[in-house]
Symmetry: C2
Subunit: 373 residues, 2 copies
């Protein structure tokens, strides 16, 4: 049996990482509190335990040769302890910077990268003064544990200040200048253990209620903006420590500039299209990166559109319309094997390819209309 | 959790079928005598038992919605019993015809398909008379349970007759006229539950000691021969019963004709290249076919060369050179997770893609040279 990889977290990202690792012959163990987790179903073994539980993480690490994670909400301190003994990637130091969204902003600013201006918020007075300095609207955000829009509030008028503070009370906060954007972009970037960097093409992400709905790959933007976005991603990678795949979210502003929004220290929803459309999927890339293997080609072979399959009700998951969706050519459907569905929960995704982005998008939307979970 | 698929056999074909089925959201259970089998590692559950054991097959069938197999050496009679209750594909009737290589030949002849002339052999006298009628060399073959050259003997002179009969003694035999071929070809063909047929491009297979070493996709043959081979495959599929994927092996004779050699009622080594090079892999195609889903496009996107990674020694499997092999661009490596290696055992495969078949082949051979198991 091959060397062992441990993955902290057993969701859909762990599932797709697990499949890539098994293909390359690794033994894979995941840590997740949910028995029969999406990743647990496709790998050798699952340790039942929470991905924030230091003891559970230690138990996982004790039996593997390489450790990685599919979720930022884990114990960076414990990972740092483990990294003394076995390779843990992305590096716990990088994870710690990224976990604190304000530290992440400062890190990017220090590296000379364009980000929205931000301020720490410790009181109502701080927020009022920032609102006056930046102008409205302004974004109030939790520094830690915010994802899919949970932990964010938009303040459009001074009347919103108290409700925003109430909604995020008890959390460490910061605020950001609102960026007026034309499009949201993302770049998947990877670094190998020996420091080689590989950058995928720029994609456009379409969000609704802060949840990614659709990814257009490549983004339909001018060549200058695309080159700029890729350069920024490369710049980020030269400053972050550790090997692995990162999802770098950006804005293309109404004035044509590219600004970095935030970084995910892991494979990313915006990179699922790479399974069907690129020489090397982001998942195989991550497995290569964390195990000291050379990176694969990031070349995109064919235009692709990815659509998330979000739950549309609560209850036992039940995939409907698979047959009708698969009747559309060049549609690959990924169902994550979650037992329970609920509104907006990521239950699967589909990727359509086509000779043009328009053809791929038409196929993806038609397939999406036919399927429900 | 999705509907359940049972797979009889847990080798590498079951492993790649399992990954395809998991991606589509199915629950997958395999039957294999080897704990921690290649397929068992990547699916929900493994039942420990032999794939020829009718009781074990019955236990597997009792907990699934669809049943298929990755190996011909199973109990067609038990599958036929199960098929009364749940869909079993390819059909047990088709499996039974294919299991008996002589019955398979007769079936193909009756369907009007070109095959080498053959005769049943029940005695030394039968073999001598066939040798005189067909001329030497002649092939003596076991009707049942022959694969990878086990169960075949070539008789080049009358001196070989007794040793060939001794080697295959105790088995039911037949003989075949020797086909002088230019190339060995294969076509992967699929039929859905509602009778739709999909044919992949013709590939060339390069064998050594009756074991597939390399597959060139597409085959470098003239358009007439390629069209002929695809037509023959379609013709085979209109005559075989049941849904599923079939590997159809053919000869391109020295006189430019295409002759059918034999049919495998399952995904096939010659179709592994479809994972990287085609719109739909043969494995997803099989899962679609046996679960009543529509077939996917068989279109090949890019030239590809597949090389089997065969064991080169006996002992615990240990993949060497993965790092150096993966440094070559556009090389996808599949390691099957078998604990023990032995000479000629199929331990994995790799597929290289490239703008031309020559580029893909050069990459595949270079990668193959760097890796050993």
């Amino acid at each position: 049996m091959g060397p062992k990889i441990g993955i902290v977290g057993g969701g859909q990202l762990g599932r797709m990482l697990g499949i890539a690792a098994k293909q390359l012959g690794f033994t894979v163990v995941v840590l997740d509190p949910n028995p029969d987790s999406p990743a647990g179903q496709v790998v050798d073994r699952q340790i039942l335990g929470h991905y924030t539980d230091p003891d559970a993480i230690r138990r996982l690490a004790a039996e593997v040769d390489f450790l990685t994670f599919e979720i930022e909400q884990t114990d960076a301190g414990m990972l740092a302890e483990i990294a003394v003994r076995i390779p843990v990637n992305p590096s716990p130091g990088t994870l710690r910077i990224i976990q604190d969204k304000l530290a992440q902003k400062r890190f990017l600013e220090t590296a000379g990268l364009p980000v929205a201006e931000s301020r720490v918020i410790e009181s109502r007075a701080d927020l009022l003064s920032a609102s006056q300095a930046f102008g409205l609207p302004i974004l109030l955000k939790a520094r830690f544990d915010a994802y899919d829009g949970r932990g964010n509030a938009v303040i459009r008028s001074f009347d919103d200040v108290d409700s925003a503070l109430a909604r995020l009370s008890g959390r460490q906060l910061y605020c950001e200048r609102f960026v007026r954007f034309e499009k949201e972009l993302a770049v998947i970037a990877a670094r190998s253990a020996d420091g080689a960097i590989a950058i995928y093409d720029v994609v456009e992400t379409i969000q609704r209620r802060h949840i990614c709905q659709m990814v257009l790959a490549p983004a339909d933007i001018d060549a200058r903006a695309a080159a700029n976005a890729r350069q920024l991603a490369e710049h980020v990678m030269t400053h972050l420590e550790g090997a692995g795949v990162f999802g770098i979210e950006m804005f293309l502003t109404t004035s044509g500039e590219v600004v970095i929004n935030e970084i995910a220290p892991r494979v990313h929803n915006s990179g699922h299209y790479t399974i069907e459309a690129c020489d090397t999927s982001q998942f195989e890339q991550q497995i290569r990166a964390i195990t000291g293997l050379p990176l694969g080609s990031t070349n995109q072979i064919v235009p692709a559109v990815m659509v998330n399959l979000l739950g549309d009700r609560s209850g036992a998951a039940d995939v409907r319309g698979l047959e009708r969706a698969l009747a559309i050519p060049n549609v690959a459907i990924h169902i994550y094997g979650k037992a329970e569905t609920r509104p907006e929960r990521k239950m699967g995704h589909l990727t359509a390819t086509g000779e043009t982005l328009a053809i791929a998008r038409e196929r993806a939307e038609r397939a999406h209309d036919r399927i429900s979970i």
